[in-house]
């Protein structure tokens, strides 16, 4: 960066004739006002001085005059390069001078850029500009210069009408007029955004509404715009009521406040993520419940097998008493439900039922409900991911780490005194690190150091990946073994008691949860051994290792369920209803995962805290590992999404699990953990978590479900898609039947055949989509270039300012030294 000018206003000369910058009279809100005022105050002497010097060809300052500004230097340079540089040298020397005259300092202190943003009048004029801009924008398309958010009253880009010498009241009137002409939504948004006092905002609003009423009553409104006005008011009112209601639900507001007060935004983000997942599951539960569970519950199918008695084990295994209930796929009937054929399900409905009763096509409903819930979840996820990404990703990648640390790292949510102290220590450490980094950057590590570090990292990665692969293989073979055992035992009907058989189903979930618990500890140990340089790299590496583990575990489990279990459906009577079996498996996995989390929280955090308090006698409690806990949440949610097709009531189980988990984790954190001692970049990590929720987790689940519906033959004896076809084929058949019954839907079926199934349409759609994405990325590139240009422009303006100030100063000084200049002027004119 160039030399800094020392505009030190506390210089002794300042007190002399200087008006305080806080003086309202000295404040301006437009350039023309300043120029007018200055030309009145100072008189023409300085300006004429300058003109004389310009006209005088023998003046030694001719070079100075031609050298107007560094930016225009390239165009205007008259003398040789040497004189230009010499002049520049002289100029930079003069910038370091302290002895500005009082007149210069007076001018400096009343420059528009120093007064704007301070006074109320300036803010009103700025917002007048913005409302005018908004009006113009709604009337025509936005042009490329509409992105400026400068606080300076820039003359460029706003048009001449803005830069007037009106008084503050006039400006306010114009602002009110502009506000009145905006739509109600825009008006409210602008009012809220204005950095004015609340009482001033209220008075602006009152005046605007008064004027609106006057114009409305005075003009003859057409009936439709009058109606539109009232409809918009009513909508706004109902929207506010809706918001009030949602906010009054205030789920967990006080616990979240306590957590954020004590631990800051990082740990809070975990609980907010949990709350988001809870809302997703509530939505799924509502949709599936209202379209699938309730109709089937009202018209239950005939029970073919006897219901087993309830033992406590069902809560864990999901089988037994729960086996043939609403919980699983197998319970749902595969024909149309009619309201009159309540008792007589297996035979076709009586003819007199058709006309009067309500009919509900269960297979179609199942098909479309699952598809709809996945589709809506996808849209919500992509929307929240893109919003979060947009907030945390910035276009220009210039560095400014220290400034950002100083101004943005204080977490205003932290309330507790000890946490505040920890936060101060944290910031101090980070600042010291950044300073140290700046100093030690030139110290290079030797090659042997680098090699050693590389070897350590390589070893660490090999260890982790090897452990993951080993565990995945163990799961593969164990699941194969368990599967074969179940096939054998169902064929032989051996003398093993029922309960043991049921309990053996729990073996696989217990193994998987155990692996999920132990391996991250190994990863932590490896990371501690490896000694990373930067904490963010360490976080990313640990996150990616955990992610690889979870993805591989889920992958091998999906393979096991979709290939082995589904494949053995025709062989064995135990797997006759393989979808229900898979649903039970997923239920078991969810429950066992929850139990293991509970145990880990209790034993991990509580025991470790008492151990470190009593035995090690340290004052530091364990920190809360946010990344690992969030990954556990994502894993649980993936299981819930996978199980949606096979167990429609699984979202209810997940809701219960999340509710209990919230309270358990909250109490554990409050009792056992302390505020984090490391920096945690909240918005970046939140974006990463939402992306992880969308991409591996949701995408994987939807791919598995799509594969199941598309390729796997559904079981013959249970579920809404009975018959040895895939679910999609069964669904299509149902649709064909429906179309045959109602000829009105014929065009829908035709549209489906020609649009959705036609590969050409899909290809063209994908191409258009890709073109739009490419276009947007080019726009982003262009904006990056514009930002660089604007930055250069601001620097140039700074240079201009410096030049003008030094010129003013030198002119003023020349006026003071009377002899030489006076004689030269006399001879000149």
């Amino acid at each position: 960066m160039a030399h800094n000018v020392n505009f030190d206003l506390s210089h002794p000369r300042v007190e002399a004739g200087l008006e305080s910058p806080a003086d309202e009279e000295g404040v301006h809100d437009s350039f023309s006002q300043l120029i007018a005022e200055e030309s009145q105050k100072e008189g023409p002497s300085d300006a004429i001085e300058l003109q004389y010097q310009q006209r005088n060809p023998e003046d030694k300052d001719r070079d100075n005059v031609a050298y107007l500004s560094p930016s225009e230097n390239r165009r205007w340079r008259i003398g040789s390069d040497k004189t230009g540089e010499e002049d520049k040298g002289r100029q930079t020397d003069s910038l370091l001078k302290d002895s500005w005259s009082s007149a210069t300092l007076k001018i400096l202190s009343s420059m528009p850029s120093r007064t704007i943003g301070r006074s109320r009048g300036a803010i009103i004029s700025q917002y007048y500009n913005r409302t005018a801009e908004l009006r113009r924008r709604t009337q025509r398309r936005a042009s490329i210069k509409d992105f400026s958010r400068s606080a300076r009253p820039s003359i460029r880009g706003y048009g001449v009408e803005v830069d007037t010498t009106d008084s503050a009241e006039k400006k306010q009137e114009r602002l009110i007029q502009n506000l009145q002409n905006l739509s109600a939504v825009d008006r409210v948004r602008l009012l809220k955004e204005m950095p004015l006092n609340l009482s001033e905002k209220k008075s602006l609003r009152r005046l605007t509404l008064q004027m609106t009423k006057q114009t409305r009553s005075s003009s003859n409104l057409r009936c439709c715009s009058y109606l539109k006005f009232h409809i918009i008011l009513a909508l706004r009112h109902s929207w506010y009521n809706c918001l009030s209601f949602l906010h009054s639900l205030h789920l967990w507001q006080m616990p979240l406040k306590r957590v954020s007060g004590r631990f800051g935004s990082g740990v809070l983000s975990y609980f907010l993520f949990l709350k988001t997942l809870l809302f997703f599951n509530m939505f799924l539960f509502l949709v599936l419940g209202s379209f699938l569970v309730v109709p089937q519950a009202v018209y239950p199918p005939e029970q073919l097998e006897n219901r087993k008695s309830f033992t406590g084990l069902e809560l864990f295994t999901g089988g037994g008493y729960f086996a043939n209930t609403l919980l699983y796929y197998g319970y749902y009937s595969n024909h149309t439900l009619h309201s009159c054929s309540k008792n007589n399900i297996s035979s076709p409905p009586k003819p007199e039922c058709d006309s009067k009763s309500l009919s509900y096509n269960m297979p179609l409903a199942y098909f479309f409900t699952i598809g709809l819930s996945f589709f809506v979840t996808c849209i919500i996820l992509v929307y929240s991911m893109s919003k979060s990404f947009g907030q945390s990703f910035r276009i220009d990648k210039s560095n400014g780490m220290l400034a950002m640390k100083v101004f943005c790292s204080w977490d205003f949510k932290v309330i507790k005194r000890s946490s505040v102290r920890l936060l101060s220590e944290n910031i101090r450490t980070q600042l010291k690190e950044l300073l140290g980094e700046a100093h030690h950057r030139h110290i290079r590590s030797t090659i042997s150091d680098k090699l050693v570090r590389l070897v350590m990292h390589g070893l660490g990665w090999i260890l982790c990946i090897g452990a993951t692969a080993g565990c995945v293989a163990v799961i593969y073979y164990f699941s194969d073994y368990m599967h074969k055992e179940q096939l054998k035992s169902s064929q032989n009907d051996s003398g093993d008691p029922e309960l043991l058989k049921e309990a053996s189903l729990l073996a696989l979930p217990v193994l998987v949860s155990f692996i999920n618990l132990m391996l991250p500890i190994l990863f932590q140990f490896t990371a501690w051994m490896e000694k990373y340089n930067s904490p963010s790299l360490r976080t990313f590496v640990s996150l990616s290792r955990n992610l690889i583990l979870k993805v591989s575990v889920l992958g091998v489990l999906c393979f096991h369920w979709l290939k082995r279990v589904a494949g053995s459906a025709d062989n064995n009577k135990a797997f006759k209803c393989w979808e229900s079996f898979v649903g039970q498996e997923l239920y078991r996995f969810l429950i066992i995962d929850f139990i293991f989390t509970l145990l880990a929280t209790l034993f991990g955090e509580l025991l470790w805290r008492s151990f470190s308090d009593k035995v090690l006698k340290r004052n530091r409690r364990p920190g809360f590992d946010i990344a690992k806990n969030v990954l556990d949440l994502i894993y649980g949610q993936t299981l819930a999404w996978l199980g949606l097709l096979f167990a429609p009531l699984l979202p209810a189980v997940q809701i219960l699990k999340l509710l209990l988990l919230f309270y358990i984790k909250m109490s554990s954190v409050m009792m056992n953990c302390q505020a984090p001692s490391r920096a945690y970049r909240v918005s970046q990590m939140t974006t990463i978590f939402i992306t992880l929720l969308c991409f591996p987790s949701f995408l994987g689940a939807s791919v598995c479900v799509t594969y199941t519906m598309w390729r796997l033959p559904s079981s013959e004896s249970c579920g809404p898609f009975r018959g040895n076809k895939t679910m999609i084929q069964a669904g299509k058949q149902r649709i064909v039947e429906l179309v045959k019954e109602n000829p009105n839907l014929y065009f829908l079926a035709e549209a489906h055949t020609y649009l959705v199934e036609n590969p050409l349409v899909l290809f063209v759609g994908a191409t258009i989509f890709l073109i739009v994405i490419y276009f947007q990325s080019q726009v982003v590139d262009g904006q990056r270039k514009i930002i660089a240009l604007l930055q250069e422009q601001i620097e140039n303006e700074g240079e201009d300012k410096k030049f003008l100030i030094t010129r003013l100063q030198s002119v003023h000084e020349r006026k003071r030294t009377p002899a030489r200049n006076l004689t030269s002027q006399d001879s000149g004119c």
Binding site: M1, H3, N4, V5, F7, S113, R114, G117, R149, S150, A151, R152, L191, K192, E193, P195, N197, L198, K201, K202, R205, R206, N241, S244, H247, S248, S265, Q391, S392, G400, M401, L402, M404, V406, F407, C408, S409, W410, F412, K413, I415, K416, R417, V420, S424, I427, R428, L431, K432, L435, R681, V682, S683, Q791, I794, E795, G798, E799, K801, K802
Partner: protein, 187 residues
């Protein structure tokens, strides 16, 4: 949602709802918080716009602000008299700007004012030094403070006048995604 309260008229509540980022219920809840600070000073009836100002000591004793090193500056910035004595309007304004829904530019404007200790509309070196000392509770050495101030001005000052103007500050805030989540008080 029903108009059972008698503290504000419906128009007053509508005006508050339009000018702050709070809903009706939150405004009432904040009024009760304001009143709890000094029940004998704050009347229960605001329909005739009483002129009640709570002194800074009461505002600074709120649990949300008690241990915040910038509480005095926050109160000064949002109060009408510049001394920290707040009316109900100032109180609502303060928590509205510090709430979750306030946009980045508005927060940046007020953050700039908070960090500008001498109210000259520029964050100069002395302002930066005071900010740093409040952040780190005076635990950095003089040299470190000086180095940090120089580096910060170097990084953030775009027009090279040796101090940060509002534009420089806003430009830097735009590049910091965490600002929205840290400049937020839950009430």
């Amino acid at each position: 949602m029903g108009n059972k309260q008698t503290i504000f008229t419906a128009q007053q509540l509508d005006a508050y709802q339009d000018c702050t980022y709070f809903t009706r219920k939150e405004i009432l809840r904040l009024f009760y918080r304001y009143r709890d600070l000094a029940p004998q000073l704050v009347p229960l009836d605001y329909t005739n716009h009483p002129d009640v100002k709570l002194p800074y000591e009461l505002i600074g004793s709120m649990p949300e602000l008690k241990d915040n090193p910038f509480r005095q500056r926050i109160a000064e910035v949002f109060s009408e008299d510049g001394e920290g004595n707040m009316t109900l309007d100032n109180f609502l304004d303060m928590f509205s700007v510090l709430s979750e829904m306030a946009p980045r530019d508005l927060k940046a404007y007020y953050a700039f004012k908070i960090y500008d200790f001498n109210n000259d509309d520029f964050i100069c070196k002395s302002d930066l030094e005071k900010t740093l000392n409040k952040l780190t509770r005076n635990e950095l050495t003089e040299d470190e403070v000086k180095m940090v101030c120089e580096k910060v001005i170097d990084e953030a000052d775009l027009d090279n006048d040796g101090r940060l103007s509002l534009e420089d500050f806003q430009h830097m805030i735009n590049r910091a995604p965490d600002f929205l989540s840290t400049f937020h008080i839950r009430i």
